[in-house]
Symmetry: C2
Subunit: 595 residues, 2 copies
């Protein structure tokens, strides 16, 4: 099938690709609207606005079988799901993880592939939905660009998604800062728990890029205004509460995890929890709505559950367990993604999210581009347009490593080449050879230009994998191993490291965490996403490097131990010319300059 | 008509009082549901939960004639109004202001009277809606108690209203803090505008009671993390943006006002605006939804437009102009309230909100209680149950002053006595005498115990006033007067002051503001609400006191000059035992401990 160009160089998406084929719940409702979209390469916002969204009740009912009363609308095109009201299938649908090679400035297109694949699966008759993370508000005002896919593979309404959306991040901000206020208030009124003001580790958060808040003194101004102490703010997505929300099974589990948060130490240097302060109940109340998954739609009217957005470095970088589980209970196939490359994203997805939730992937798609492999092979960004088969072969070491890594989990990925016009057939052939030598199927995708139709080959490939034997997914390490051994396992098995080196502070923290009885938590490695090593300049598939662990952070509420192996920025700053300065409403009340 | 008690001592509200009588838009839809409510004195939350709310689409359609597509739902029982989509009547409905005598710890019941009166007006066949301020989230976690009315005069869903509601305050927080981030970012990247970091007056905000944030140092940690400087946080309701949102006529006016905000001074000591930073466009985008009025319902299913919540001290203390205007365009009568007593609330309502918007009140209700007058007459709270006619007469000086004050605006109020079981007929007779001597009608109200039915006499009284001649409302002062004369006018005409005294700092600020060309703005006096004077212990109707003006603050965006005459707290703290510690979700996911 090919796209039909019309006279005004606008393209038409066939109804079959517009997500109206498979409809087990409302077979009578097939429509034949043809959507006219601006041509590929038009601004994402123009494409998004050219599509008339379905009322969200229709998406919910026709695509997921959700009744009116179980949907909590937020406007006409967004909703939250009232989980208590949803009748789900006893048998869960299949789960497809979309991950990627090591990210480069050339861009790989993991989110567009997740969305395009979902639209394509629906186009070939499979009832599928996509689960993604919510974008953060703060960065929208820094560097231009939203996070709702792109081209003809987008989730809409993208303006709402990139701004306040359904209020989840604001609720997390409130819950986080309530705990902070309760801590300072406790110290102010006599400090019964004997908290050490020098050892409060719970900071405050704001969903804003604001470097001036990274390091602050609070409680100044005299005895009526609290106890002076050093503190600071992180961006909301870096809050432990974000990770907790995304790993919680339900409200009860949420409250328990919130209570487990360690806020700092007392004067005996013992950890103190949010529960000891009595904070977890009120925090849960603030998150009552935020814990419900959000529903929007793709450009082709397929269900997109967008919920939670933890960092992929100091947290696990996946959307919520509740959204994934709900989608699996309502769809036959669920496509989801994990942050950064497969070394970080897929590893944490499996070793943290899947292990905690019991949800296991049935297939993995590994997104790759010719251009990215050229960069991994040493070509600078300016020279990517030139054909360079040698560089592709050289850079394919990165792809090979990721494929072999995934095979260690028992998952051979389908490699999806996100195709660009500059890609040459000889370059593609080189990549195919690599994949086939490792037994990994490979397909090309052009969803960015063509919508779901463009990812049909990937969808057929995924279907074939799902029709085959269910993979026997293995975790990379046993939680019972000591923390250092768990880190060493990931570093040597996935990163190609020869060893792990703990500095003195990290070694001390390691001993403390083990002594406190948290040694059996999974680990969450925070390192540069731009290399298998801790050095972002080492491209391809570096070996025999040593992973330096500088700091361990116990996230007792989220339930993992973060191993920090490099600089981690938890509060971004704005650039010299922030995008905010060109954002405005036009005469019609439409947003300009945001995307 | 009297309440029918059923066997389980639960009371029944007659259908006529349940808001189903007047329905010009959907006359066919009259229902006869009888709502069984817990008895008066039950916790507000129990009463609220005993009422089955109408779907908000029904309230909008049946009571306001709003079509489905013009309503933006936030769940099933809350909505925002899409003003662009609403067809309004060319003739505006009438406006009734509910104000009160000087507040005391005994409680007067301004919000319950506003709601009860609205229900009563509907019960006697008048199409009426109520406009109120949104409560702030932060204080809910301090001292127990929400702000959605009480007893049988409530707006529901009260849990939502008191928590995140429709996200307006979070949006204001984001817009405010974006401007703050842009200021520090501007200084960080070279400070082209030559801002004086010592003279930045724009602080940050958070919707939380957090005293430790009152005074902070930001920008610590070295050159990568900004310029160190003193700053601090206010609670979100104290943000100038809150006042701006409530005074803006539309999005365009909002953007203009945001641009006018003065964020501090440059090194030449000249004021710098948000517009010079280029911030107002992005701020407006963040407030795109927040500027739309919110719709919920009273217990008797009448429309409640709840929108905006500026402080009544450093701001004007009224709900938004857009909500009031919209309600007036959709209802025959709109009941609204203003913060604190009539000396502050009604004055600012008329001299600021009405003057700017052109909307004028057609009648005023002055809420008063026997108990409050006893306190004004010197009786301590513990002795309020005892009959004390002398104290009531003594305290009536307060009531008289408020009546006479309102008459200076050309408005003789209807005095609504919010009746308590301990009130004695002799005490009431004394109050009636005072009112009648001033030509003010007086009626008793029992809406707290009886719902709309209990405020029927007040509603009939209001109807009689509205049926009479339209009052000729006069402002208290001419905007063209110098600022000090405007303050002196309010102090001498309303507060009984003999003069106004500016301290040296305030005098300097006064000269600066006049020199900058802002001398013709209206003034907003921030003083204790507990006395006509600046001394909260001076009860009754003190005279010949001197009003001390300590500071003037130019709110160039909101469009008024704040005169600070006493301590003003813009960031509350939490008490020793915060309400947060007893708030939680129960087994059914219902909130406990919040109200």
């Amino acid at each position: 099938m090919s796209l039909v160009r019309c006279s005004h160089s606008r393209a038409t998406i066939p109804a079959s690709a517009a997500g109206m084929v498979n409809n087990k719940h409302n077979a009578v409702l097939v429509e034949t609207t043809m959507t006219t979209l601006p041509p590929p390469g038009s601004p994402d916002i123009d494409i998004a606005r050219a599509v008339k969204p379905w009322p969200i009740f229709e998406v919910a009912q026709r695509k997921l079988g959700i009744a009116h009363h179980a949907l909590i609308p937020y406007g006409h095109y967004k909703a939250k799901l009232d989980l208590a009201q949803i009748e789900t299938k006893t048998k869960l649908g299949k789960l497809v993880l979309v991950t990627a090679i090591t990210p480069t400035p050339a861009g790989e297109g993991k989110t567009t592939t997740s969305i395009g694949l979902t639209d394509a699966l629906n186009a070939i008759g499979i009832n599928a939905s996509v689960c993604l993370r919510e974008p953060s508000l703060g960065p929208c005002f820094g560097v231009k660009g939203g996070a709702a896919g792109g081209g003809r593979a987008q989730a809409i309404p993208m303006e709402d998604l990139n701004l306040h959306f359904n209020g989840d991040f604001h609720a997390i901000t409130s819950a986080h800062n309530l705990l902070a206020a309760l801590i300072d208030n406790h110290i102010h009124w006599g400090n019964e728990l004997n908290l050490d003001p020098r050892r409060i580790t719970w900071r405050r958060v704001m969903d804003m890029n604001d470097r001036a808040l990274r390091n602050t003194l609070v409680g100044l101004g005299g005895p009526a205004h609290g106890q002076p102490r050093e503190s600071g703010f992180d961006i909301t997505v870096a809050s432990e509460i974000m990770a907790i929300l995304c790993l919680a099974e339900d409200r009860k589990d949420l409250q328990k995890r919130l209570g487990n948060i360690i806020i700092g130490r007392n004067r005996d240097n013992q950890p103190v929890t949010a529960r000891e302060l009595g904070a977890e109940g009120a925090m849960t109340v603030l998150l009552k709505e935020a814990i419900q998954p959000n529903l929007i739609q793709t450009l082709e009217h397929n269900p997109a559950l967008i919920h939670g957005g933890p960092f992929a470095n100091i947290a696990h970088g996946c959307n919520s367990v509740m959204a994934t589980r709900t989608a699996m209970a309502l769809s036959d196939v669920v496509v989801t993604e994990a942050g950064f490359g497969a070394d970080l994203g897929a590893e944490k997805f499996i070793d943290i999210k899947c292990r905690m939730s019991g949800l296991m992937p049935d297939a993995v798609v590994l997104v790759c581009t010719v251009r990215a492999l050229k960069m991994q092979g040493g070509v600078p960004k300016a020279d990517l347009d030139a054909i360079n088969v040698e560089a592709v072969i050289e850079g394919s070491s990165n792809l090979s490593r990721h494929i072999k890594n995934l095979q260690q989990f028992g998952l051979t990925p389908l490699v999806a080449i996100n195709r660009f016009p500059t890609d040459d057939d000889k370059e593609l052939a080189a990549i195919k050879e690599v994949c086939l030598s490792l037994g990994a199927p490979i397909e090309e995708a052009q969803h960015w230009a063509e919508g779901g139709l463009g990812a049909k080959a990937v969808a057929e490939g995924v279907k074939a994998m799902l029709d085959g034997e269910k993979p026997d997914v293995k975790f990379l390490y046993d939680n019972a191993l000591p923390i250092d051994d768990k880190i060493r396992t990931v570093a040597t098995k996935l990163y190609g490291a020869s060893d792990v080196q703990f500095n003195i502070a990290a070694q001390k923290q390691l001993d403390e965490i083990q002594a406190l009885g948290f040694g059996d938590l999974p680990i969450c490695i925070a390192k540069t996403p731009y290399s298998f090593s801790a050095d972002p300049t080492l491209l391809g598939a570096p070996s025999d490097h040593v992973l330096p662990v500088r700091e361990l952070r116990l996230m007792a509420g989220a339930g993992f131990v973060v191993a920090i192996c490099g600089d981690v920025m938890t509060m971004p700053g704005l650039p010299r010319k922030p995008a905010a300065l060109s954002i405005s409403l036009d005469e019609n009340g439409e947003i300009v300059g945001l995307f």
